[in-house]
């Protein structure tokens, strides 16, 4: 194809996978709705709907991870920190508003109308009583306002990513150093949140998030579906947005940065600016995914920010297939659902005669090893199967190295 026709074609025509993806997602959402307890034939249990809804959120954060790693070549091992921060920000409002209802109702029985101080004090005792405090910390200043907290869902993780990214990219920290640095960031944040003094209830975190304030009589069957729809919508929008981002000139530049950062810099592009934008954008997407995820999970605590969580995120993307957006979605959905099936105790044990393989014990071993195998023998991940199906083959990777970060996949560019 000529360059002319390449730029003239519409966005959707260039990216047929977007249409396919939206179609599949729509059918899936419709199917789940029809089978749900709240709006359908009650074939799927509410807990399974919640699992599916959460999986959609994980797919969304995996998309973000794919953009930053698969396309921009930055292996961030800290994106789950943004995910969790998004959850914390929304969780603060959920918790505050729900507690406020209880406190106001309780104080109303007391004979005198409650003073604002009494209400605030009551909320503080209710929320922080379990961790031995009775004052509302300063970071809860906006918790009473839904819109303020919603803004913080984007602003806090985005701001953190902006500052961290600016510092890191400015001093040209790249490659594995950056990976370790992002890992340190999430570890530091997790340790900070583990402290009770952090004002976010330490190890206990924020809980009871599945109960929506003002809607206490809505059943969880319905609430789970609302969040499922929300997650599906967010995933669909995220997919379209990211496809659009990676398909244009911007996408070409970030892939070029992945393949040879120096060369792009010499061509006059502001490499740091591009990286910073991608880092912050993906952090914001992760935060939105997190804000949708934790009300479905019901509880958020610092263990969610542990470095291992971000590594799992990388694992999903790698197994699904880097450098293609649908790969990330497939990886996240496949591995997280498989993982919950194996650890759920429902996978049949394998008797070997001398020893019985109990999957609760051996699932992690299997995951770890399959991860090694994927890295070694199938760097394209599950997404690579689509190439086989389409009869497309990537260029032969044997021979001279293709660039400093040889982990990058270049089939797509070669094809276009």
């Amino acid at each position: 194809m000529t360059r002319q026709s390449f730029t003239e074609r519409s966005f959707l025509a260039k990216n047929p996978s977007v249409l396919w993806f939206i179609l599949i997602l729509a059918v899936f959402t419709l199917g789940v709705t029809v089978l749900s307890e709240a709006y359908g034939v009650a074939f799927l249990s509410t807990s399974f709907v919640k699992t599916l809804g959460k999986t959609l959120c994980l797919c969304l954060v995996a998309l973000a991870m794919d953009l930053i790693w698969g396309y921009a070549g930055i292996l961030s091992l800290g994106h789950m920190a943004f995910f969790a921060l998004g959850g914390y920000m929304l969780g603060m409002w959920l918790m505050y508003a729900r507690t406020e209802e209880i406190v106001v109702a309780a104080l109303a029985q007391g004979g005198l109308p409650a003073t604002p101080e009494e209400v605030r004090q009551g909320i503080a005792v209710q929320i922080f009583g379990v961790v031995g405090a009775s004052e509302l910390p300063a970071i809860w200043a906006f918790a009473h306002s839904f819109w303020a907290q919603m803004a913080l869902v984007v602003l806090v993780p985005g701001g953190l990513a902006l500052v961290f990214g600016w510092l890191a990219f400015r001093s040209r920290v790249t490659g594995v150093y950056l990976s370790i640095l992002t890992q340190a960031m999430t570890l530091a944040l997790a340790l900070y949140l583990f402290q009770n003094d952090s004002g976010l209830r330490g190890n206990n975190g924020l809980s009871g998030l599945q109960n929506l304030p003002g809607l206490s009589d809505a059943s969880q069957d319905a609430v789970s579906m609302w969040f499922f729809w929300g997650s599906a919508l967010a995933l669909g929008l995220g997919y379209v947005l990211l496809s659009w981002v990676v398909s244009g000139k911007f996408g070409s530049v970030i892939r070029a940065i992945r393949d040879d950062e120096q060369r792009v810099r010499f061509l006059g592009y502001s490499v740091e600016g591009y990286k910073l934008f991608v880092f912050t954008l993906t952090a914001v997407i992760a935060a939105i995914a997190g804000a949708l995820y934790y009300p479905q999970a019901g509880i958020i605590n610092p263990a969610e920010l542990a470095p291992i969580a971000s590594i799992y995120l990388a694992v999903w993307v790698a197994i699904g297939g880097r450098g293609r957006l649908y790969g990330a979605v497939i990886g996240a959905a496949f591995v997280s659902l498989l993982s919950s099936w194996f650890t759920g105790g429902r996978a049949p044990s394998v008797p070997l005669g001398f020893y019985t393989v109990n999957w609760v014990d051996w699932w992690l071993v299997l995951l770890g090893l399959s991860f090694v195998l994927v890295t070694l023998f199938a760097p394209k991940g599950i997404g690579g199967l689509f190439d086989l199906w389409q009869g497309l083959r990537g260029p032969d990777r044997k021979g001279a190295p293709l660039g400093p970060d040889d982990g990058a996949l270049m089939e797509k560019e070669a094809r276009e």
Binding site: S45, T46, S47, F48, K50, T51, I102, A105, A106, Q109, G110, G111, V125, Q126, G129, V130, V131, G132, S134, L191, F194, Q195, N196, R201, G202, N203, N204, G205, S207, G208, Q210, N211, Q220, Y294, A297, G298, I299, I300, N301, A303, E304, T343, G344, G345, P348, S349, P351, Y355, T356, V357, N358, V360, D361, L364
Partner: protein
Amino acid sequence: MNGIKGMMLGGAMGMALAGAALAQEETIKVGVLHSLSGTMAISETTLKDTMLMLIEEQNAKGGLLGKKLEAVVVDPASDWPLFAEKARELLTVSNVDVMFGCWTSVSRKSVLPVIEELNGLLFYPVQYEGEESSKNVFYTGAAPNQQAIPATDYFLEELGVEKFALLGTDYVYPRTTNNILESYLISKGIPKEDIFVNYTPFGHSDWSKIVADVVALGADGKKVGVISTINGDANIGFYKELAAAGVSADEIPVVAFSVGEEELSGLDTSNLVGHLAAWNYFQSAETPENAAFIEKWKAFAGADRVTNDPMEAHVIGFNMWVQAVEKAGTTDVDAVREAMYGLEVPNLTGGVAKMLPNHHLTKPVLIGEIRADGQFDIISQTEPVAGDAWTDFLPESAVLEADWQTLGCGMYNTETKTCVQIKSNY
């Protein structure tokens, strides 16, 4: 290697259970919600085995209401959100009649909204920080007034401790317990500056500075005592450092609320002889019930396994539930709950445990001194103490009361005579 043995046993058990499910016989389902993997597996796997043993034993006796009991074991993998998910699954997919489970407070708080929404029933077997009474939970472990307060009294009265170091792992149980203890000690005339508080992360291993700080507390001539709510593995480093610093129990006694027979099996206790632990049960309790229980346990799980306090709590909780179901003639949650109040079940350490309307038990408080063989010498045993859901030593909680039998409320303000909320705080 006993690990392998235990694993094979667990595997066999899983197969047996799968077989039972296939038989399509009508059963009473008992959910077991304990982590079998992750950081808490260390403690919780034992409780899962205890439950399997109790259920097997009950089935051997002919089951319950003419039906067999069936254990539904799930693994929440020490992942707190997963506890909520698994609890929902147990209640809505497996349709269990009762659940036994959780260890950490945060896992309980994660499960609470789900069981309150779906009106489930949970038996929670671990000593905890109190400040809670849910309609749907029976707390068979100790509340602070059944462990922490008596142990502190022992320090004050028997050992004459005048200066306290409250060392804990940084999470909710130590935080709340230390908070209660601090205001209790102040009410006993210990000045605030004589209470040193320190929090360390889970699995902390570098204890030299903290031990040195504690030793330095003795500089003003007051007798120093350590109240430890240090959790799990971190204890090993702590006690090793204590032994290395030559701190004997006679100089600075340490009483621990989270160190039991299991934890001590991870270290050489010869240097720790005389340090203390407070529980409601010790394996070394000399009663016929305990001897029989230990024998059964060793036959079931292996000769080198030890027993501990939360196991006893499950034994009491399970026996009580069986009695309540028989009394109610059904496994319906509300009927069983009503039937529970006032039931009495023998403790393994002597005396009886009685279920109170606030969903807590009466329990004797035992204080044990560590022996060189990793067991405890019981040196003090109180009469059964009634568990108090809301502590009397924090001003906000002192006015609260839980009574599900007559008041129908777990958070009743005795001052304003109103029910603050029917659901729990989570």
